[in-house]
């Protein structure tokens, strides 16, 4: 067998997986810290793509600046949503929190998608390339956009890792995810951390959406695929395990690429889902479930 037959899908899969990992990171973070199964995550991805599109085309900002604008925009939106919705719910009642917030995120998702549709129509808005050109990796050519996208994902994930483990605020976020009461008792302002976390998660999703703009043009319903892909990743590695989401993302990327090449483009979802369901059958708490971390198991 030609080694490039193995190497090519792996390279393609890794490039794809980097952004899955980034998306999954945001999802895992919000679930881990706030216990919110966020089904509007994909819509912040969509918002990011739109913001980047308008910054890039209408305002002529450079690619990097456009992506940064998208991140900030989504961060602010995330903060508003958290303050307006989840904070309100938390004040009212924490009973049945996971289910209630799940429904709230569904509502948010519907509202976001349709508001965007109402504002900008169902058109696809894309750019041909942020950074034109291609590069040879192994035996295949890859566009610079993809490589930069992958690098952005890796840098963002690394940055997050440093932030979470080395800074006071990052540690507080982790502390909240492990024990809310405990973190309040040492003086962590829970509301602030929650808002920050949700905003960050949205910013990360938007970052992914913005960096992929040249590959997936912006449209109102574009968020669904990244949403369920990031859910695959999170459940695959074990819910709330923020660190492992990178491995899950890359794994899913490669898995899908192989499925795609073996069975054709339409089958990738069915195949990767079947594999994930199988894995979960034998390891219901995920591949990298940690002891003491919230798990999917009852």
């Amino acid at each position: 067998m030609d080694p490039s037959q193995i190497a090519d899908p792996i390279i393609t899969g890794l490039l794809r997986g980097g952004l899955y990992a980034l998306m999954a990171l945001g999802l895992a973070l919000v679930f881990g810290v706030m216990n919110i199964p966020n089904f509007a995550h994909g819509d912040f991805y969509m918002v990011g793509a739109y913001l980047a599109f308008f910054s890039f085309t209408a305002f002529g900002l450079g690619p990097i600046l456009s992506i940064i604008v998208a991140m900030f925009g989504a961060f602010i939106l995330g903060v508003l949503v958290e303050k307006g919705v989840f904070y309100t719910l938390r004040k009212r009642s924490k009973k049945n929190w996971v289910m209630n917030t799940f429904l709230l995120t569904l509502g948010i998702s519907i509202v976001l998608q349709n508001s965007v549709k109402m504002l900008f129509g169902a058109n696809y808005r894309g750019v041909t390339a942020f950074w034109p050109g291609t590069m040879q990796i192994g035996s295949i050519n890859v566009s610079i956009d993809r490589i930069v996208g992958f690098l952005i994902a890796i840098i963002a994930i690394a940055g997050f890792w440093v932030f979470l483990s080395k800074t006071k605020v990052g540690r507080s976020i982790r502390a909240v995810s492990q024990d809310e009461t405990g973190s309040q008792l040492v003086g962590v302002n829970l509301n602030w951390i929650h808002t920050l976390t949700f905003g960050l998660s949205c910013a990360v999703a938007a970052l992914a959406g913005a960096s992929l703009l040249s590959i997936t043009p912006a449209s109102p319903g574009m968020g669904l695929t990244p949403l369920y892909k990031s859910w695959f990743v999170c459940i695959l590695v074990g819910m709330g395990n923020v660190g492992a989401s990178i491995w899950g993302g890359l794994l899913l990327g490669i898995l899908e690429t192989f499925a795609y090449m073996q069975f054709g483009a339409g089958w990738q979802d069915a195949i990767s889902l079947a594999v994930i369901i199988l894995i979960l059958l034998f390891k219901p708490s995920g591949l990298f479930a940690k002891k003491g971390v919230k798990s999917a198991l009852e």
């Binding site: 540690r171 502390a175 492990q178 024990d179 009461t181 973190s183 003086g187 302002n189 829970l190 003491g292």
Partner: protein
């Protein structure tokens, strides 16, 4: 320094505390004793801002803290070691202590506090890289107290520190409380281990059925007949 004035509190429709009042003065060790499920923990939660009292108020360092958020009260210098310890189990000992010292701004100050805490609990110093989840019950209790001390608290509240510990570990914990007392830390302690507790306390309150039924000096209470009957099993 801490005054609890006539509080009523409870969960949902169920009232737990009825007109409870007590106080803690600077430098004292004060104990609240009583049987299970009479509202000891609830009263501590009212102080720490986890539970909002229905009626009455709590004053700490001369200001009314009723209804304030837990983290604000913590920042004022009130450290609360809960029964469940509420440790960050996915973090190392060191990280737990770093979280405890969250409110300390300077690096030097932090290191000084850390040194003091490590000198009190040398065992933790040896295990600073260990994850809290993998520690034994006694070590966790120690870590919880240590984390609370990282706050440089003006008042330390301990809820059942000896709960579920082996006699050996209980001794270690009580030794450290005595140690704190010698360093002039104000302590409010809730315990079922009445004998030990009242022994080391300056004053004590007895809480029964959500009401304060008795108060007095630790030693006095120990010699009280009712206490002997109810808690010490001495006829």
């Amino acid at each position: 320094m801490l005054e609890v004035n006539n509080i009523d509190a409870g969960y949902g429709n169920m009232q737990i505390l009825w007109d409870v009042s007590f106080s803690v003065e600077q430098g004292e060790v004060v104990a609240i004793v009583g049987p299970n499920g009479v509202g000891k923990t609830t009263s501590l939660r009212c102080i720490a801002g986890i539970v909002m009292p229905w009626k009455g108020n709590v004053e700490f360092l001369g200001s009314d803290i009723t209804g304030r958020q837990t983290y604000e009260i913590a920042k004022m210098g009130l450290a609360y070691v809960t029964e469940e310890t509420n440790l960050f189990t996915g973090m190392t000992v060191m990280e737990n202590l770093q979280m405890g010292g969250l409110t300390i701004s300077g690096k030097n100050e932090f290191n000084n506090t850390l040194d003091i805490v490590f000198s009190m609990f040398p065992r933790l110093a040896e295990r600073r890289k260990q994850y809290a989840a993998t520690m034994s019950g006694g070590e966790r209790q120690m870590l919880a107290i240590a984390r609370a001390l990282m706050l440089n608290p003006k008042l330390l509240i301990l809820d059942e520190p000896s709960m579920g510990l082996s006699p050996q570990n209980v001794e270690i914990v009580f030794d450290s409380i005595l140690n704190l007392k010698s360093q002039n830390v104000t302590v409010l302690i809730v315990e079922q281990n009445v004998n030990y507790t009242l022994e080391i306390s300056d004053r004590g309150y007895v809480l029964e059925n959500g009401k304060i039924v008795m108060e007095g000096k630790g030693k006095d209470l120990l010699s009280n007949d009712h206490i002997k009957n109810m808690y010490l099993g001495i006829a």
